[in-house]
Symmetry: C2
Subunit: 215 residues, 2 copies
């Protein structure tokens, strides 16, 4: 049997640095510089090499560069976000309102990512149906890390009504929107996650979320 | 503002190699060699640096080394898997039955990973509630890649009844099981995903899952 590639301690350190320096990037950071096709292909290639339950590869990707489509998606965001604001109170509401939370029209490339369910039973998905959607999320995290390694910024916009995005993109009825991503070159990366720096939430101690053998 | 770390083309190539060589590892590959605490900490540190919606960090990890607990989990797998077999017909059923699909008792370390919902509204999670669970999946993919970079094998077992696993681990009622992982040193890594090599499923052409502007 093959023993496979052996990675070095330096390789693991490179991955650790990429993981530590990955950020969620919003519209105030994106440059208008075009994202070249070969860069986009590297992101998509990383995506399709993600793990998937039963090797089902249940993903579909829509690369959006059309300004009119971005504008329609932006309107869906605005509607959802104005409702979201009302859920936060006092100082949190003030801070929420001041935040730039997406980069839909500013990012040269948007990427809508769908889960396409299988008509047949899928190995490994018979007890936990959600494993199919989780495979798609693994692909998204691969894209995010590869983008960071290429010094490309990416933001995940989740303040959206999935059915409205599906209608805009003419998506097949059975497809489920998993994520809507904004991708582009940036003027820099923050050293800390913005919500950490602004004290929206504190970073949890690693030990506080780890249990041994049982809760 | 900070410009952040700039990664090189070599760094991106290292990440690509890690992504391409990651495999789902089952019980026939794990060695009995202990997984040292500092290795486990590197995996957990990669996990807690995953992106999370609204910086909510909604994850909890249970590190399982206790043989009796593993055995109980294995029994849940056996029950679910014997039901799953019946869903596949003819040749697929034969192949399914011949596959080793987990490494629960063989892997020195099991890792159960939970989503812990917040009692408060979470920024970014107001329109798509599932974004919380997707954050946990991003943490899992970070673990998987970091494990591969450290030449550690990992398998994701999804043929499990989540409520039974929660009962075994004494998990809080509101927690949701996202994944159950088997982790350990291995005798090697397959050059292709096993289900691809066995022609259970074919690898899809990247172009066949990419659309431009709309479906």
């Amino acid at each position: 049997m093959e023993n496979g590639r052996t990675f070095t301690a330096h390789d693991a350190a490179v991955l650790e640095e990429i993981i530590f320096h990955r950020r969620d990037v919003r519209g105030n950071r994106f440059l208008q510089t075009a994202v070249e096709d070969d860069i986009l292909d590297k992101l998509l290639l990383a995506a399709v090499h993600a793990p998937s339950v039963g090797f089902s590869q249940p993903w579909e990707f829509v690369v959006i560069r059309d300004a009119a489509i971005k504008q329609q998606v932006r309107e869906v965001f605005d509607e959802e976000n104005s409702r979201a604001k009302d859920l936060f109170k006092n100082k949190k509401r003030e801070l929420y309102t001041s935040l730039k939370l997406e980069g839909i029209t500013e990012a040269p490339v948007n990427l809508a990512i769908f889960y396409k369910p299988s008509d047949e039973p899928v190995l490994g998905q018979t007890s936990m149906k959600e494993a199919g959607r989780y495979s798609v999320v693994c692909a998204i995290q691969n894209i995010w890390l590869m983008a960071r390694a290429l010094n490309i910024g990416m933001g995940w916009v989740s303040i959206l009504a999935p059915e409205k995005i599906k209608a805009i993109l003419n998506a097949p009825q059975q497809n489920q929107l998993i994520a809507y991503l904004c991708i582009g070159w940036v003027d820099g990366f923050l050293s800390q996650p913005e919500l950490e720096a602004l004290q929206w939430e504190r970073r949890k101690e690693m030990r506080s979320v780890v249990y041994y053998d049982r809760f």
